[in-house]
Symmetry: C2
Subunit: 324 residues, 2 copies
């Protein structure tokens, strides 16, 4: 059988040359030359006057044992229903979102750069694949200062990866993550995050391109900032009016879609204030579910754009955007 | 504001030239130059010894009034839960699937070519984007002879789009769709399909590359054919063993995921035999749900690869594959 297959493959290739005349027609004679590259990690969605592009940074593996707030059985059951491992790390996407208003190119979050290893750090590659250059970005809005959102501000040499951008950071988050006093009082497992935050914004601050904003301060592109604390002290969601429904880019409201949509009371170890994070999740899920707004979410499977279905009070469902 | 933005955009572009030195750096000075292209319509999934590539042909709009078998209220409610229109056409993907075994490149279904207008017919483009040429395909398995599955067999000039492929068609389907007697007795709305079927296979038949196969006859790549009648008389699913779980490419078992997973008794106007189609859907959903096999589905939102969750007896849920 193996020999028959090999002869057949050869015949195919010879016919291929005769018909196509293409250079490199012999590439496929080697049965091992199976194309394996994934499609580029961007996803485009026009929305009214906006063009939204989800950008894939990569994925981290997160131990589901870090989820708490429901019984282990409830958490395991939700994971199993989504065919996810219940006792091994769960692949968790890291997404950023570019919103092009025509006047502004606004990037919400920036991925990890290479802080978290070779499986992540692909925002710049995917931005280029999507038809943009880093120099096209004029505005960066950070949902918070964690390194998987702010790390991508830096080029490999520590300079600004987005040299034409003004970076907007919620002042409450900056007051915490850029503070050396806060670092000294932080939980040991969180201390390393402070230096990463300071490093990420440093060249923008030096260039006069960093804005720490407070509630009510106007942002570019008609965007509204929505205070969404708990995951971090100043965690913020951004609401983009499109003329045909709003887009809510909500950062880390969800870390595990399979568990936290049906059980919003489940929080994750990384939350600064779990009780506040749960209250904020309930609020934003309720808001998104009632209004049917489009949601862009950092850690929901790529592209992380979708809407929130309401099954019953406090029980939600993720409805991903359809490719078109 | 508008003027400020324009000046800013110019400054960005000038900086872009200085930094990148790229040709065409002025393209972005025009605020209307918003990149709008979607990411290429392929999706790669390694599975054991297989490399599976979903290929997007495009989308058709299907009137949800063509769904029947549950109350209008039930159907409308399921559509609304998925944020789909309840009284207007629903975007319905057309997917084909390439399974590369290392020895064989097996394409299951071929899309529409240009039979259904400019929104479809992109299988060959997406095949190339995925790193394959049409001449690389050695085997084509058709789930059935409808034109959105067989139409892509033809190049625009009517010749073989896949000149090195042997085309396998379930004999029961060929006995019907290639028969002039059957055409004369068919429902008026289905008559046009017969000529499309005959045209699609004609050059392969003329070249001795058409195989009409019967149950039990061996297929390339260790694939098993699973008789799955109802949608058409000879509708067939294909089971690919991977060494790490099976892949079931099941054709038109589902036309509307939002409605038919929770309500498998709902069938669609296009089914040749609705009662049989419902029975087959129950069988394959039960099989896929119990075994947790990967499923590749022609009309589920692209990429159309996922698994079947079982909520309770005869109530199912689609769990899409995650991008990685």
């Amino acid at each position: 059988m193996k020999k028959t297959v090999a002869r057949h493959a050869l015949a195919c290739t010879l016919a291929g040359i005769l018909i196509t005349g293409a250079a490199g027609a012999f590439e496929r004679t080697d049965a091992s030359a199976v194309p394996t590259a994934q499609a580029p990690g961007y996803f485009r969605m026009p929305l009214g006057r906006l063009t939204v592009t989800a950008l894939y940074d990569g994925a981290v593996d997160i131990d589901p044992g870090l989820l708490a707030g429901a019984s282990r059985q409830t958490i395991r059951s939700s994971l199993a229903q989504a065919f996810l491992p219940t006792a091994a790390p769960v692949q968790t996407a890291v997404n950023a979102f570019l919103v092009d208003t025509g006047d502004n190119r606004i990037l919400v979050d920036t991925g990890t750069a290479k802080l978290f290893g070779p499986r992540l750090g692909f925002i710049l590659d995917n931005l280029r694949a999507a038809g943009y250059r880093a120099t096209d970005i004029d505005t960066i809005l950070l949902t918070h200062l964690h390194p998987d959102h702010a790390g991508g501000l830096l080029a490999p040499d520590g300079s600004m990866a987005f040299p034409n951008a003004r970076v907007f950071v919620p002042k409450t988050d900056a007051d915490y993550w850029l503070s050396e006093a806060a670092e000294r009082h932080a939980r040991p497992d969180q201390r390393a995050l402070f230096k990463m935050s300071r490093d990420a914004v440093a060249p923008y601050r030096a260039a006069g391109r960093l804005t720490l904003f407070e509630a009510g301060q106007p942002l570019p592109g008609g965007v509204s900032a929505i205070t969404a604390p708990g995951h971090t002290p100043g965690h913020t969601a951004y609401l983009f009016p499109s003329g045909e429904g709003d887009l809510l880019v909500w950062g880390d409201i969800i870390h595990n879609a399979a568990v936290q949509f049906p059980h919003p009371k489940v929080s994750i170890e990384f939350d600064s204030d779990r009780q506040q994070a749960v209250a904020t999740r309930h609020q934003l899920l309720s808001y998104a579910g009632k209004r049917g707004v489009w949601v862009a979410s950092a850690h929901i499977p790529f592209p992380g754009i979708g809407r929130v279905g309401v099954d019953k009070p406090s029980v939600y469902r993720w409805v991903p955007a359809e490719y078109r």
